[in-house]
């Protein structure tokens, strides 16, 4: 296949799909990550004193926690802001909340290693924390994301995800919101619903289609094996998901990660949630979903300097590989 530019309608982003590049040699042997733990892991059961007091624990009221949400000890944003804060139009206080969701009491590194119950509590904690922070008028958006393995940006390997709620809606979300609202106004339909229907009909890029969710590798995937997990019924707000939807969503995400791990050796990966910003009464056009991105290539000078992505694995091939697992 020749390389091609592909356009993603959700983000209005062009991506270069360049399958010829996958074969290029790599003289760096990154090899096995140093897995030595330099200190007792602060996320393991028994070391709770090394993290701040939890803001939530699951199962609620249980003697032994399975999932534990704590404030980040080194937050990127904070609710306290000195009164002598900045005032120019080019600077604003980075007001916000930064929490860590510890997804298991034992030392494992991937969501694929969690029990049914731990996955369910993890996704329930995403909903609960977003619902609570979404009531704070100072906050505009809550970003849920996971960095798994060092190549995915994890600084602690113990399985965890994070929540950064901020006073500004991040650029990618604002852009997606604008595009979905524009389409809704023009066509009285959701752009992602339309896309999903076309993907299901074409089926070439679909990985899973069950329990009310579709997982597919987007036409203009930025990353090799990038996969989106989308509820089939239109829904703007992740926090309105039912317990059974949350459970299905979590288990399907675990299934997708297991497929990745069966196809690639110990892949680093990220996933993140896109959901409607807080306090948006006009936000019905949004369609919440998760985006899962294995980190096999490194973002480098071309991507950072130009804002363009080059993806050496076509999403049709990626979906075929992921579909065939088991």
């Amino acid at each position: 296949m020749d390389g091609e530019y592909r356009w993603d309608p959700i983000s209005d982003r062009w991506v270069i799909i360049a399958p010829g590049r996958a074969a290029r040699p790599d003289h760096f042997q990154e090899g096995v990550m140093a897995r030595q733990i330099v200190a007792p892991c602060p996320f393991c059961r028994g070391h709770e004193a090394q993290t701040p007091q939890p803001v939530a624990v699951y199962p609620p009221g249980a003697a032994e926690w399975q999932v534990r949400v704590v404030p980040n000890l080194f937050p990127a944003v904070a609710m306290e802001w000195s009164s002598a804060g900045p005032s120019s139009s080019a600077v604003r206080p980075a007001v916000g909340v930064h929490e860590v969701i510890i997804e298991a009491p034992h030392h494992v590194v991937s969501l694929a290693q969690l029990s049914d119950e731990q996955v369910s509590w993890t996704f329930a904690s995403y909903r609960d924390r977003l619902a609570e922070l979404g009531r704070d008028s100072r906050l505009a958006y809550g970003a849920i994301f996971k960095n798994a393995r060092a190549g995915g940006g994890a600084s602690l390997e113990h399985v965890h995800s994070q929540l950064i709620a901020t006073a500004q809606t991040p650029e990618s979300i604002a852009q997606e919101m604008r595009r979905l609202m524009d389409h809704w106004q023009a066509r009285q339909r959701c752009l992602l619903c339309e896309l999903l229907a076309a993907e299901v009909q074409q089926s070439r890029r679909v990985v899973l289609d069950r329990d009310g969710f579709v997982a597919f590798c987007p036409f203009a995937s930025r990353f090799p094996y990038e996969t989106w997990l989308v509820p089939q019924a239109h829904a703007a707000d992740f926090t309105a998901a039912t317990p059974s939807q949350l459970e299905s969503c979590g288990w399907l995400m675990r299934d997708l990660i297991r497929r990745l791990e069966a196809s690639l050796p110990e892949p680093a990966y990220n996933f993140w949630l896109h959901t409607v910003p807080f306090h948006r009464r006009d936000g019905a056009a949004f369609h919440w979903h998760f985006e899962l991105a294995p980190r096999l290539t490194r973002l480098a000078g071309f991507e950072l300097g130009s804002g363009s992505f080059i993806n050496p694995v076509s999403p049709e091939k990626a979906a075929q590989v992921l579909r065939q697992v088991r």
Copy 2:
């Protein structure tokens, strides 16, 4: 210092500067990269047969090359495109040119290790290749960039940079062009010229100011120690730079990288050129410059999912550190 959101006027991008995060522990010991070369280096003198025929060699006509430009063996884009190419509005052929600039005949890894002459030829090659490709009406932009060390995305460690010329102007360039043109129309002045004058006057973020160039750490730096190298006199087109400007630019870039390497242990880094797109007669508002980004933090779920950056080192601190080297 509390964390803050900062706005960059050139890109219209907000960044979170969060100095508190720099102190967080990192349980992964990435340690020393495996430096073992798995095969003879194809970029070293004597192995010229392992790369395609050069499109340029420096010094021109010399018996022994110092700098050598070759087509990339595994190009992301190509000028040949099968006639049965895609035709929908969401896909276009990835037409373009992908070249590698080998900056020295001997096996070194960083531009800081090059001789005066090698740096000069390297920057002359950037100009020459862009000038030649810029005459091709099928191409819209030529991106010059460097990936140094594995953390910077280099797949071969031998010192080199790359050129990817494409039929579409990349998004970051198109965005910067729009902003600079809007400002020019509104104020009859260049936005980057204004910014540069303010930075020189304030001086807190300036690293170097000599030979007609200013290097500074931008107010809304995305990356720790991010530094821009900008010609002080307004100029849209890098290919119009004089030989002495090119030489100064290259030597100052080498100086900046030496400062980085004196401040940080074997830092991975990228740099890239922003210059006016090809064939833009209305492009006088552009102001070419280089952006240098050490890669100390990893772009992870938050950045990829939200389009936002969190930078743990304030640019004021970064500039102070870089200024003090020697």
